[in-house]
């Protein structure tokens, strides 16, 4: 038995090492693919497949009538983002938008719009958020998205559009590039250049420090911004 002790010990350590996958970072996705092309479904689920393959844990993937505004609304405002959007490091919304919010096809649990007044992201876990939606980051409410929603709470970055945009499989490419080592911002602009027609404008808001963030495990990540840090907007019109 004594002879077998050392090989057994080594085997056990090896098995534990092989089985351990670490505390994976989490992502979450909500999408609206009702009443139109199923491309938003593809964008959301392909994003999820890419992030799964990248070793990320799926906190949530809700679509259409199963996607609730409350999943993105702050707990202090009556939402439950502490289990969903803000419980994920990376959150992706695929659906309609306007400068004041993102829209959900199901208004069962509150209303259908998660507005800039409802959202407080980063006070729990969220680092990066993207809304593949029209005009969320238009000039009208930029300061509110930057400071009230993200910066003062700890989120690092928000990606969306200044203008209207077209329903495209943006999620697949964005995730593929981030998992290949592109920065979060670089991957957002690259998928934009490839997928949107001329005249459509993408935007990213972040601090100088967090603008160069990569997703966990794929490069540098800045520490959480502090309330009062200055935010900037990067704009790219194709």
């Amino acid at each position: 038995m004594i002879v077998l002790r050392r090989p057994l010990l080594v085997s056990c350590i090896l098995i534990v090492c092989l089985m351990w996958t670490g505390d994976a970072a989490e992502y979450g996705v909500s999408y609206d693919s009702t009443g139109g092309l199923g491309i938003n479904y593809n964008s959301a689920t392909d994003f999820a497949s890419r992030m799964d393959s990248c070793g990320w844990y799926r906190q949530f993937l809700w679509g259409n009538n199963a996607a609730f505004e409350k999943d993105w609304k702050d707990v202090t405002k009556g939402g439950w983002d502490d289990r969903y959007a803000d419980a994920a490091d990376l959150a992706f919304f695929e659906g309609h938008g306007s400068p004041s919010g993102i829209y959900f096809p199901n208004d069962c649990c509150d209303d259908s719009k998660c507005s800039k007044d409802d959202a407080r992201w980063g006070d729990l876990d969220m680092e990066w958020v993207a809304a593949h939606s029209c005009s969320v980051l238009a000039d009208a409410n930029l300061a509110a998205w930057a400071y009230t929603v993200c910066g003062n709470n700890g989120a690092h970055m928000m990606c969306s559009h200044k203008t209207t945009c077209y329903a495209r499989n943006a999620g697949d490419r964005w995730a593929q590039l981030m998992c290949s080592g592109w920065s979060v911002k670089g991957a957002w602009f690259q998928q934009h250049i490839e997928k949107q027609p001329s005249g459509v404008t993408a935007r990213v808001i972040a601090t100088q420090a967090t603008a160069g963030d990569h997703i966990w495990g794929k490069g540098s990540v800045a520490s959480d911004p502090n309330p009062g840090d200055t935010w900037w907007v990067w704009t790219l019109t194709k």
Binding site: P99, L124, S135
Partner: protein, 385 residues
């Protein structure tokens, strides 16, 4: 047997009708109604509160006598094909099959080719792409010269492409009340596009972009460009212009349809839409979709007004009456695909120290959903921790 004049007349009439049916296939009111070759699809999504009052403040375009409908073709993309492109660009490494794309990625370079269309992307120093440059960006003349030289050296510009302008990645400060100061240019994007029958080709396709970063140096390119083939039919407001003549909507009819249909982008919540431009164009789609035909479309541009002030929009519409005004593609109702009462809620999130561990997780195979499949979509399964 004696045949009277009336019978002759009837037989003649029958022969004319028969000949008409055989010689001019699928014609109704003189226009071709067989839409089997009209496979081009526009990105349309049913709006969310987006059937506003439309106001027309634009001059309607003149309708051409005919507009062609053209075949498009794409290369057969294989690992070998991608390897050839990589060699031509001086890039070395192993080509990986990543589902919808082939990718060759090194520490410095990222090359990918879409299997559906052959669309190419090559970016140098991709890990810092779209980042902050150390050196100042030169003026447009220098940027264009660098982009032209790179495009010519690498034979990027297919027949018919022309320089169509420079876009910039800009950075601007956000103050407490909105934008502050001036936007600074961080990066240039030299754009090349093409036209067909004198009309621009719109959409994400027919687009070659050269990325210019640090000090105006070329950082890479993207190219979505299918080959334009023969003219397979025409569109016109007058029937009989060719063997296959499809009815072209006139601008007044198109605007009326726009009013009925509303906006179909990802826009939401608008009350009034002011159309300031209406034009004809052709359409080439994004690189991750197959496209075998291009046909004329209408492009309406303008601004929409709602509770959130003013939002610019650009709206595409089929210009062929066989397709114009058609509703966005229907899809199976998945509204009850997931009953959230039947799945357990995830735990409350915590701030975690991801950087410790994530890098040890190995990459796995990627399984993607089929592109624009028409079959029933899968249920979305929630996987509790």
């Amino acid at each position: 047997m004696k045949i009277n004049n009336f019978t002759y007349l009837l037989v003649s009439l029958a022969m004319v009708i028969g000949a008409y049916a055989v010689i001019i296939p699928h014609q109704d009111s003189g226009f071709c109604t067989d839409d089997s070759i009209l496979t081009m699809k526009l990105p349309q999504k049913e709006g969310f509160g987006t059937t506003p009052n439309f106001v027309l403040e634009a001059r309607l375009p003149e309708v051409p006598d005919t507009l062609g409908i053209y075949a498009l073709s794409s290369p057969a993309v294989t690992r070998g094909y991608v390897q050839e492109i990589a060699s031509a660009r001086g890039t070395k490494g192993e080509v990986q099959d990543q589902g919808s794309t082939y990718v060759l990625s090194t520490d410095r370079e990222f090359l990918s080719v879409e299997t559906a269309s052959g669309a190419e992307t090559l970016v140098l120093d991709y890990k810092n792409a779209y980042g902050a440059p150390v050196k100042e960006l030169p003026n447009e003349v220098v940027l264009k010269r660098n982009a032209d030289a790179y495009a010519n050296q690498n034979n990027l510009l297919a027949k018919g492409y022309r320089y169509s302008g420079m876009s910039y990645l800009t950075r601007q400060l956000i103050g407490e009340n909105g934008l502050q100061g001036q936007a600074e240019n961080m990066m240039g994007i030299a754009k090349y596009s093409r036209s067909l029958e004198g009309l621009p080709v719109e959409g994400a396709g027919s687009s070659i972009n050269v990325l210019l970063g640090e000090g105006g140096q070329v950082q890479g390119y993207t190219k979505v460009s299918r080959n334009v083939g023969e003219r397979i039919a025409v569109a016109s407001t007058v029937p009989g212009k060719a063997d296959r003549t499809y009815e072209l909507l006139n601008p007044e009819e198109a605007f009326k349809l726009l009013q009925e249909r509303g906006l179909t982008t990802e826009i939401a919540d608008v009350e009034e839409a002011v159309v300031t431009g209406v034009r004809f164009a052709y359409y080439e789609t994004v690189g991750d979709e197959k496209q075998e035909v291009t046909e004329p479309i209408y492009v309406f541009s303008g601004y929409a007004l709602g509770p959130d002030e003013r939002v610019e929009f650009q709206e595409y519409m089929y210009a062929l009456s066989a397709k114009a005004g058609s509703a966005p593609h229907q899809q199976p109702d998945r509204s009850r695909a997931v009953d959230r009462n039947k799945v357990s809620e995830p735990e409350k999130g915590t701030k975690d120290a991801e950087s410790r561990t994530i890098s040890v997780v190995p990459l796995k195979e990627v399984v993607l959903t089929p592109r624009l499949g028409t079959g029933p979509l899968k249920e979305v399964a929630f996987s509790p921790r």
